[in-house]
Amino acid sequence: MSKLHLKKIIKKSFTLRQKILNIVIENGGHLATSFSCLDIVVSLYYGGVLKFRYYNPKWSLRDRFILSKGHAETLLYSVLDDLKYFPKSWLSNHYRSGKYILGGHTDSKIPGVEFTAGALGHGLNLACGTALALKRRKNTSRVFVLMSDGECTEGTVWEAAIFASKHKLNNLIAIVDHNKMSATDFTKNFTNINYLEKKFSSFGWKSQVIDGHDIPSLIKIFKKAKKNISNKPIIFIVNTVKGKGLKFIENDPTRHTKGLDEAEKEKAKKLLKII
């Protein structure tokens, strides 16, 4: 990948941050969590990792991207909008504006969304079923699933973890957005999801801890994962910063749902160079 291309992708990450901020200011939405995994999603969609056709969202040879953390809806919808999955008017008719085409969590009725999400602990199980079906159909597409770290306290995640290794789902690539926070607090204050990489590797997965904001490296790692020659499913525990890009909300556990007040809106716009 040329340096110029990489530069464009990094710029895309910045313009999407601006776009998300604008949407959240206008309509509300989950800002901090969207910023946390934005570089991951940008790497997948713009870095040539995922095979997809915006004009044919159900193309059978597409790689399946399952957003399990459905509360990053503003992020996914912004990306799908940018990639022309649906008409431009949809995004401006976002959920709180009263037209309810796009809602507060991702829904499978939207082109480009594989499964409805919002209740956590569903995506990895659905991804396992999808991966198993693709393998049996000898379809070489890959299944990516993006989860939150707080989500890993759901028992279903571990039911799926057992299933995936037993069924040798080496076409499955799970990504945990490890921002060390859940909805109300730092995860370390109420649960033990430390060393997720060790937990998953003991369940028979190939696991690796990586940086979630280094786009060139994310692209390289994800592309390599698609060529998985082992018989194990892969999981990346991706270290991220919740709220990344807006210093004053970064790593603040109260910011999962809390919106920006008027002064903060102006401050945020300035930081993201929105004139």
């Binding site: 209740a119 569903h122 199980n125 659905l126 079923g129 079906a133 039911e159 799926a160 057992i162 299933f163």
Partner: protein, 312 residues
């Protein structure tokens, strides 16, 4: 389907044997279970190992796996003890199946008090009520094994998610020499005058026997209601013919067919009187033989007769 299913077989075996007949010709049919057994399953597993998945005791996972595979072109049938696969997976059924309109079929065994002495963990006495709340889900409650076979044949082609509540015990054959109109959703097994029992599941045979015993005293009709959701609106026309309806079911009186039909009666301003013969809240969560549990709830033959005589 050429193979004749013996009506004196368990509903679960009728389900798996019939599914096997389709599955051997269609590689896309997959049977997924949570480590659940059945006589017919041994044959299915042996002959079609690639079309069977024992996903272990992980019901929520199973619904997710089935939804994922179904979306990618497979036709998934889940087989489990009813109580486990329903009570544990309401969210998966609502979101992964109903919201996304993914037509996975769930066959649960052990409805009502089928697992009597195994106790409340195994009793499925609230499944109809819970699932009646799920948009777009079809619910079947077969009274014998022949009807199970028909439901399987329909389910193989159906594009709707569904739940079939099967009994664990042998059911008296009802449809051996009788035509089944599955789409109709109910069969008027016996025409009556003024009074009718609408029953669902294995207990339909008890309704028939009760009406026989009361025949000198009263001409009571019997309707087998086997498709509970969506309900055929034509059933209303039948209700109109009767002054008194007794609903009979091995299910909590809240949310069961008594509840469903009484709603319809109110919504449609019918003059029909409805009396629920069903399980009462204060008797649930207990242990005992099925006979004992039925007696406790006044759904044994003697009690049913008493109730009907009292409320003619």
């Amino acid at each position: 389907m050429k193979k004749k299913i013996n009506s004196k077989i368990f509903q679960r075996d009728a389900f798996i044997d019939t599914l096997y007949q389709y599955a051997k010709k269609d590689k896309k049919i997959i049977l997924i279970s949570n480590d659940q057994g059945a006589i017919a399953l041994d044959n299915y597993k042996k002959k079609l190992p690639d079309q069977f998945i024992n996903a272990g005791i992980s019901e929520q996972n199973i619904v997710g796996i089935a939804a994922g595979m179904q979306k990618e072109g497979f036709n998934c049938f889940i087989y489990s003890i009813a109580s486990f696969i329903i009570n544990r997976t309401i969210e998966q059924i609502k979101i992964d199946l109903c919201n996304s309109k993914i037509p996975v079929k769930i066959f649960g065994v052990g409805c009502g008090y089928s697992y009597a002495v195994d106790g409340p963990t195994h009793h499925a006495t609230e499944d109809i009520g819970l699932l009646n709340l799920m948009p777009g889900l079809e619910i079947y409650s077969p009274s014998d094994s022949t009807i199970v076979k028909n439901i399987v044949s329909y389910s193989v082609k159906s594009r709707k998610p569904s739940y079939v509540r099967m009994d664990r015990e042998l059911c008296e054959p009802i449809y051996t020499n009788k035509k089944i109109n599955l789409l109709n959703g109910f069969t008027e097994l016996k025409k009556g005058k003024d009074c009718c029992i609408i029953a669902t599941g294995k207990i339909v045979s008890k309704a028939l026997s009760v009406t026989k015993k009361l025949s000198k005293y009263k001409n009571i009709g019997v309707i087998d209601l086997f498709k509970l959701k969506p309900l055929n609106p034509n059933l209303l026309k039948k209700l109109k013919n009767y002054k008194t309806i007794f609903t009979l079911e091995e299910h909590n009186e809240v949310g069961g067919i008594g509840s469903i039909l009484s709603n319809h009666i109110i919504e449609n301003n019918l003059n029909t009187k409805l009396l629920k013969i069903a399980l009462k809240e204060n008797t649930l969560l207990g242990y005992g033989s099925r006979d004992l549990l039925q007696k406790k709830n006044n759904i044994d033959e003697e009690s049913i007769i008493k109730i009907i005589r009292k409320n003619k």
